[in-house]
């Protein structure tokens, strides 16, 4: 299957499922909807309300609802969502949206594979994302530079070391391509938001939508920080990932932690909302504790000094490389991820490896 031979015919169902495709956007342009229309017409109100609903669901439950039959409204709601996200301009919210959205796309693509409609996957990979892909026998070869930038994780069967890699190409199945495209589409959606030209003055109802969603998002983040405080004060250790629980235990019992262990623990605690003083109190029991040096370091981590960059804690891969992680936590690639999920009542399952 080469790019010249490929001709993909998109149905209205496809537009609803893959509104990020240029063909879908063109369809929307043909309808002649303007930003003003979005704010002042009744159709615009429906679209705006749908977009707000989508965004609210993403904030609340990290899910994006499946599209319904009205594909034009679906495409319009998608782009309206991107516009609102661009207006709010919060990187974390945009990522959250892209993650939830691309999970649906993955689902649809898996269904295509089951029906044998490989051409759609090929189309998205090659024509939209610019990946180098070739069909080979029952599967696909994808160029390693495209593979690694869409790799879901760096352990286990996805790791390059466990795959067939030949002259720059990695062998994968069509199902695996569907999973890689989830990451590809996620990054693509983030870039779409980044490239939106938000006019300096938005029409009233659109502006109100931006404010509404922005408020919902900050109050959500506020809730999580409040939970973080209770964890510390009531020592609800169940919400902490096993690696942090262990570091906390060692530190509290007076054991000497290595520098990277201390950094890992301190940056995690700062990230979940503990103050510099609270973190210092914890480290006070170290045999080599020195108030001035420790305060300097923790303030640095919290972004109060020097480059004023708040340091983010190590992710699981790094924790493993540093010898600070001997667990496997299901679907978790960052300690903060574990914590936020646990705080919402969905404690990830984990097992100790040795």
């Amino acid at each position: 299957m080469t790019s010249e031979q490929l001709r993909v015919i998109l149905s209205s169902e496809d537009y609803a499922r893959y509104p990020f495709l240029p063909e879908a956007l063109n369809h929307l342009r043909e309808l002649g909807l303007t930003l003003e229309d979005l704010s002042s017409t009744s159709l615009g109100a429906i679209i705006l309300s749908r977009a707000k609903d989508r965004l609210a669901r993403v904030i609340e439950s990290s899910t994006y609802p499946l599209p319904d039959e009205d594909y034009r409204a679906e495409i319009a709601a998608f782009y309206a969502s991107l516009l609102i996200l661009a207006g709010i301009s919060d990187q974390r919210l945009t990522e959250k949206f892209a993650i939830a959205y691309s999970k649906n796309v993955h689902l649809f693509l898996k269904q295509e594979v089951e029906k044998g409609n490989f051409s759609k996957l090929f189309y998205i990979a090659h024509h939209l994302l610019g990946w180098r892909v070739r069909q080979v026998g029952e599967g696909v070869m994808v160029h390693f530079s495209d593979y690694v930038q869409a790799q879901p994780e760096y352990v286990g069967p996805w790791k390059l070391v466990n795959r067939l890699v030949d002259r720059g190409y990695v062998f994968i199945s069509w199902q695996e391509l569907a999973r890689l495209l989830e990451t590809g589409v996620r990054k693509y959606v983030v870039s779409l938001v980044r490239d939106v030209n938000v006019p300096t003055s938005l029409p009233e109802n659109v502006y109100k939508a931006v404010e509404e969603i922005s408020a919902a998002w900050s109050s959500r983040q506020h809730d999580l920080r409040a939970i973080a405080r209770t964890v510390y004060s009531e020592k609800k250790e169940g919400m902490l990932p096993p690696c942090m629980r262990e570091l906390l235990r060692k530190q509290s019992s007076g054991e000497n932690l290595s520098h990277s262990a201390r950094f890992a623990l301190a940056s995690f605690l700062i990230s979940i909302g503990l103050s510099v003083d609270e973190v210092l109190d914890l480290f006070r029991s170290s045999p080599d504790f020195r108030e001035d040096i420790a305060r300097y370091q923790v303030e640095h981590i919290a972004g109060l000094r020097g480059s004023r960059v708040k340091y983010s804690p190590y992710k699981c891969d790094n924790m493993r490389s540093l010898g600070l992680c001997r667990w496997e936590c299901e679907k978790v690639s960052h300690p903060l991820q574990y914590f936020y999920r646990a705080a919402r009542g969905r404690v990830p399952s984990s097992r100790e490896l040795w």
């Binding site: 160029h143 530079s145 760096y154 070391v161 720059g168």
Partner: protein
């Protein structure tokens, strides 16, 4: 002498020199001068001739504003992928002949290059490290293994790779292909894990057989690690008289895990992963002199790496005179470069370029100076 080298040589600048950050260390101080940028090769060479640095480095990364003093203001625009083969990370038996250490905590001393003090466990060791042709051979084996992975597995052509002698204890391989420039840290770690064989799961290579044991899923013609492991297993088992030739071997899982682990240990490349993972590394500037040795960071083609002896490889890095000179060095390594130093007496006779090495890396006193 460094001065005369830079005066008579014109260093070819790295590609896209105007986007690189440069760093230098000088003879009169320990600190590093950073955030320097040059708009051309001539400007760079003028600096080298005027300031004569002890060590010269350049960034693997390309920046919008390389001379910005704040990392966040430089504007990262991608970076080469670099692999560093350093003898520090490869076991070589000759280290006992030329390396020595002294513990700063308990005062114990000894030969070789241990990670911790064997007496008290401290990591604060004062080290004296040297390189010899045996070390270089070991490093060369590793770099050839690496080239194999990059060419056969990743399809990176020789035109897109450059290999340099590091100036002291190993080699650097730079990949300049457009495909790798934008790669982030995670991806670089993945590439580094790949050539090291880190994270290889033996069970992905095996399949269950009818007798309840396991055999390899892939044959010797398979690409990537599966093929390499299959070849290794075939060689190992061919040496074993009890194995039946021809049919794919069936072994219990435990035996496979052991075999595969040995294969990874032998076939994996011993790189210093920190260098590869770093997206903003300052690495030694090719064709400049290494301050501890007086040898230059010289480029080798793959053909040269394959065919040259260690002596030839080191020889290409020598810039100073061969004339014999006398050097006073009471405590000295037994073996350095391709020489075995005499055991007796404080004063020995060596070629001048070796004298420079002994002086720069070991504080030896050069008694007869020769023109550089």
């Amino acid at each position: 002498m460094f001065k005369s080298y830079y005066r008579r040589t014109s260093i070819p600048p790295p590609p896209m020199v105007e986007s690189r950050e440069f760093g230098f260390q000088f003879f009169d101080s320990q600190s590093m001068l950073r955030h320097l940028a040059f708009s051309s090769g001539e400007e760079l060479n003028r600096f080298l001739r005027e300031r004569v640095p002890r060590h010269a480095y350049y960034s693997t990364a390309l920046y919008e504003h390389p001379s910005a003093p704040d990392m966040s203001e430089k504007g990262w625009r991608g970076a080469e992928v670099v692999f560093d083969i350093d003898i520090d990370h490869v076991y070589t038996p000759c280290k006992d002949l030329h390396d020595s250490w002294k513990c700063l905590d308990c005062g114990a001393e000894g030969r070789g290059a241990p990670l911790k003090c064997p007496a008290c466990g401290s990591e604060k060791l004062e080290r004296s490290n040297w390189v010899c042709n045996l070390c270089i051979n070991a490093a060369r084996e590793e770099i050839l293994k690496l080239l194999d992975f990059l060419e056969l597995d990743f399809g990176i052509s020789r035109k897109e790779m450059r290999v340099y002698f590091s100036g002291h204890r190993g080699f650097h391989l730079h990949v300049e292909s457009e495909d790798v420039l934008p790669l982030e840290q995670d991806v670089r770690r993945e590439l580094s894990d790949y050539v090291r064989g880190l994270g290889l799961d033996p069970e992905t290579l095996l399949k269950r057989t009818r007798s309840g044991k396991y055999s390899l899923r892939y044959g010797v013609d398979a690409p990537g690690w599966p093929g390499r492991i299959a070849k290794y297993v075939a060689l190992i088992l061919a040496e074993d008289p009890s194995s039946r030739g021809g049919t794919p071997p069936e072994l219990p899982l435990g035996a496979w895990k052991e075999l595969i682990s040995r294969a990874v240990d032998e076939l994996g490349v011993k790189i210093d992963e920190k260098v590869t993972i770093d997206t903003r590394r300052l690495i030694r500037l090719p064709w400049t002199l290494h301050g501890k040795t007086g040898l230059r960071v010289v480029e080798f083609s793959v053909g040269e790496l394959e065919a040259f002896t260690a002596e030839d490889l080191l020889g290409k890095a020598i810039v100073f005179s061969q004339e014999e000179t006398r050097v006073r060095m009471p405590k000295r390594p037994k073996r350095v470069l391709f020489y075995e130093l005499e055991e007796d007496g404080e004063v020995i006779r060596v070629p001048f370029y070796l004298a420079v090495y002994l002086h720069a890396n070991g504080g030896a006193e050069i008694l007869d100076w020769r023109p550089g």
